[in-house]
C-alpha cells in the first residue's frame, strides 16, 4: 500500500476545502447516506430543475476519503443532467470494482478518478463510494 496513492494532493485539498460543505436553500432533493461501521455520515442536498442538477452541497462528517469523494462528486455533477449524473455514479462504482477497462469511460469521471486506487484498500472502499450511492438513491426518487 502506498499512502501517496490514497492521500493525494487533490483528496487532501477537497478534504480541507469546505466550499461544497454548506447548507442549501430550498433543495429539491435531500438524501442521507451513512456507513454505520465507520461513522461516515453525509446529507446530500440537490436542486434539480428541468432534469438538470443546478446546485448541490453536503453536510455531515466522516473520514478524509468520504469527505473528499463527496466534494469531488459535487463539483462533477453540478450543471450535469440527471441522466449523466446517474451514468457517472455507475462508472464510479464500476471503477472501484475494477470492472472498467475502457480508459475513455474513466475520463468522464475527471477528478473522481483520483479514487481509482482505493480498490486496493478494501477497508476504505465504502468511504469513497458513499456519496455516489447516496446520489443514486436521491436520483432514483
Amino acid at each position: 500500500m502506498d499512502l501517496n496513492q490514497i492521500y493525494t494532493q487533490l483528496i487532501m485539498e477537497h478534504n480541507k476545502n469546505t466550499h461544497n460543505k454548506r447548507a442549501l436553500i430550498n433543495p429539491t432533493l435531500i438524501e442521507h447516506g451513512h456507513n454505520p461501521s465507520c461513522g461516515d455520515d453525509i446529507t446530500l442536498n440537490l436542486i434539480e430543475k428541468d432534469g438538470i442538477i443546478v446546485d448541490a452541497s453536503f453536510t455531515g462528517s466522516g473520514c478524509a476519503i468520504s469527505q473528499a469523494s463527496t466534494s469531488i462528486m459535487i463539483d462533477l455533477i453540478k450543471g450535469k443532467k440527471v441522466s449523466e449524473a446517474m451514468e457517472l455514479a455507475e462508472i464510479f462504482i464500476k471503477m472501484i470494482k475494477k470492472e472498467i477497462d475502457d480508459d475513455s469511460e474513466l475520463e468522464k469521471l475527471e477528478d473522481a478518478v483520483a479514487f481509482e486506487n482505493i480498490s486496493n484498500m478494501p477497508a476504505r472502499v465504502k468511504c469513497a463510494v458513499l456519496p455516489w450511492h447516496t446520489l443514486e438513491e436521491a436520483l432514483k426518487k
Binding site: Y7, E13, G39
Partner: protein, 410 residues
C-alpha cells in the same frame, strides 16, 4: 528500559515476524483479537492428527480421547477462574453467545418492571440481549453513567436497588480501558438481591480473575482474546443458578429423553451445550491458558502496565492527541483510546497501518458510550504480553506523521 516480559517470547508467535507494508508488524489491536503462540496451533494439529472424534457419544478410542480432552479443558478453565466445579463451565462459541444464552435463559424468570442495570460503556454484546428481553418482558433497562475520566461516580451505585434483578458489567472497558470495581459492585448487588454478570472479555486475558473473590454469579469471555482459537467462548455460572435455568440452544447431546412432543434435558453443563461441541477450540483454549500461566498473569499485568505508562507518557507530549479514559493509570488496563485533532480515526488507522502499526478505528461496538462521550469514533491501541517498548516507539513515531499526510502542519 527494562521489560517485565522478555521479548524472547515473541519467538513463540510466528506472525510477529510478518512484515506489514514493508515494516515490522506492530500489533496493537489485541482488544479485538490476539495472536496465537505456536503451542496453541500445535495443540490444534495434535488434536486433529491424533485424537479427533465426536465426544460424549462413542465407545471407541478416538471418541473417548476427544471426550477426555474436552473435559480436561473444562477442568483447566475451572481452575483458571477458581470455580467450584467443572460443571459450572459451559462452552459457547464466543462471549456474545454466552451473553445471549444468559439473557434468554434468565429472562424466563424475570417479571414486568424488574430492573436490569448496565454500564453505559458496555459492548453491544452486553447491551442488545438485555435490550431484547427488556422489550419482550417489559423490564426496565437502566444505565450507570461514568465520569469524564471513565470511572463510576459513587452516586451511581444508588441505581442498584431492590428492584434491580440483574446487573451486567464489563470488568474492563474495551474503549476506556477502565478496570471497574466489580468486587464492590457484586457486593452491593448481592445485598439488594440482584444477579451479577461479569463480562470478562477484556479483563481475563490480562489479569488474574477469581470468580469467588469477585463473587460473580456469571462470568463470560472469549478464547480468541486470550491467545486461544476463534470459535470458542466460556460461560461460568454458579451451579445452583445454572441448575434452575432452561436451556438456550436445543439439539443433540443435551437431552435425556426425547419424545415426539416432549423432552427432558440432561444435567448442567450439558443441557447448555447443544450439538457437536468444538473440541478443537477447547483444546486450543487449554493450551492458551497453560501458556498464560507459564508466563504468569501477574507478569502480564505488570508488563502491560509498564507499556501503558510509557505510551501514555509519550502520547501526552503530543499536543494534538486527546486520550480518553482514566488518567489515574492504576484504574486502567492496557487499552488506550484517543483522537488526533482534525483527523478522522479511520484515516489515522490507515496511515498507522502504512507503518506496520495495527490499530483500530471506529465505535468499538460501543455506540451508546460514544454518543455519551460526544464523539463519533476513536482510535484504539491495546497491548498484550508480546508487545514491547520498541512497539510503542514505532507507534509514537508513526502517529507523529499522521497529520502531515493529510496536509496539516504537525
Amino acid at each position: 528500559m527494562s521489560q517485565i516480559i522478555d521479548s524472547k517470547i515473541r519467538e513463540d508467535f510466528p506472525i510477529l515476524e510478518k512484515k506489514v507494508n514493508g515494516s515490522r508488524l506492530v500489533y496493537l489491536d489485541n482488544a479485538a483479537t490476539t495472536q496465537k503462540p505456536k503451542c496453541v496451533v500445535d495443540a490444534i494439529s495434535d488434536y486433529y492428527y491424533n485424537h479427533n472424534g465426536n465426544p460424549h457419544r462413542g465407545a471407541h478410542t478416538l471418541s473417548i480421547e476427544a471426550t477426555s480432552l474436552y473435559d480436561n479443558a473444562k477442568k483447566k478453565v475451572q481452575n483458571f477462574i477458581n470455580a467450584d466445579s467443572e460443571d459450572e463451565i459451559v462452552f459457547t462459541k464466543n462471549c456474545t453467545e454466552s451473553l445471549n444464552l444468559l439473557a434468554y435463559s434468565l429472562s424466563q424468570s424475570f417479571k414486568e418492571d424488574d430492573e436490569i442495570l448496565l454500564c453505559i460503556s458496555e459492548h453491544h454484546s452486553n447491551i442488545l440481549p438485555w435490550q431484547r428481553i427488556s422489550k419482550e418482558k417489559n423490564l426496565i433497562l437502566k444505565y450507570i453513567y461514568v465520569n469524564e475520566d471513565g470511572t463510576i461516580p459513587e452516586s451511581e451505585y444508588e441505581k442498584i436497588n431492590k428492584n434491580t434483578k440483574l446487573i451486567s458489567i464489563a470488568q474492563m472497558s474495551n474503549v476506556l480501558g477502565t478496570i471497574f470495581p466489580v468486587k464492590k459492585i457484586s457486593q452491593i448487588a448481592h445485598e439488594k438481591g440482584a444477579i451479577v454478570v461479569i463480562d470478562a472479555a477484556q479483563s481475563i486475558p490480562h489479569m488474574k480473575v477469581d470468580v469467588k473473590d469477585i463473587d460473580a454469579d456469571f462470568l463470560v469471555f472469549s478464547a480468541h482474546k486470550m491467545l486461544g482459537p476463534m470459535g470458542i467462548g466460556v460461560l461460568y455460572g454458579k451451579k445452583h443458578l445454572l441448575d434452575n435455568m432452561p436451556p438456550f440452544l436445543l439439539g443433540g447431546d443435551m437431552i435425556e429423553y426425547v419424545y415426539e412432543n416432549d423432552v427432558t434435558f440432561a444435567q448442567v453443563p450439558y443441557k447448555f451445550e447443544a450439538g457437536t461441541q468444538n473440541v478443537e477450540g477447547a483444546v486450543g483454549l487449554k493450551a492458551a491458558i497453560d501458556y498464560l500461566e507459564k508466563i504468569g498473569l501477574q507478569n502480564i499485568e505488570a508488563h502491560e502496565k509498564m507499556l501503558t505508562e510509557y505510551a501514555v507518557e509519550e502520547m501526552l507530549k503530543i499536543p494534538y492527541i486527546e486520550i480518553y479514559g482514566p488518567m489515574d493509570l492504576e484504574k486502567r488496563g492496557g487499552i488506550i483510546s484517543f483522537n488526533v485533532k482534525d483527523i478522522h480515526p479511520h484515516d489515522v488507522s490507515t496511515i498507522l497501518d502504512s507503518y506496520g502499526v495495527a490499530s483500530r478505528a471506529g465505535h468499538h461496538c460501543c455506540q451508546p458510550l460514544m454518543r455519551y462521550m460526544g464523539i463519533n469514533s476513536s482510535v484504539r491501541i491495546s497491548f498484550y504480553l508480546y508487545n514491547n517498548i520498541e512497539d510503542i516507539d514505532i507507534f509514537i513515531d508513526s502517529i507523529k506523521n499522521v497529520r502531515k499526510w493529510l496536509g496539516y502542519g504537525s
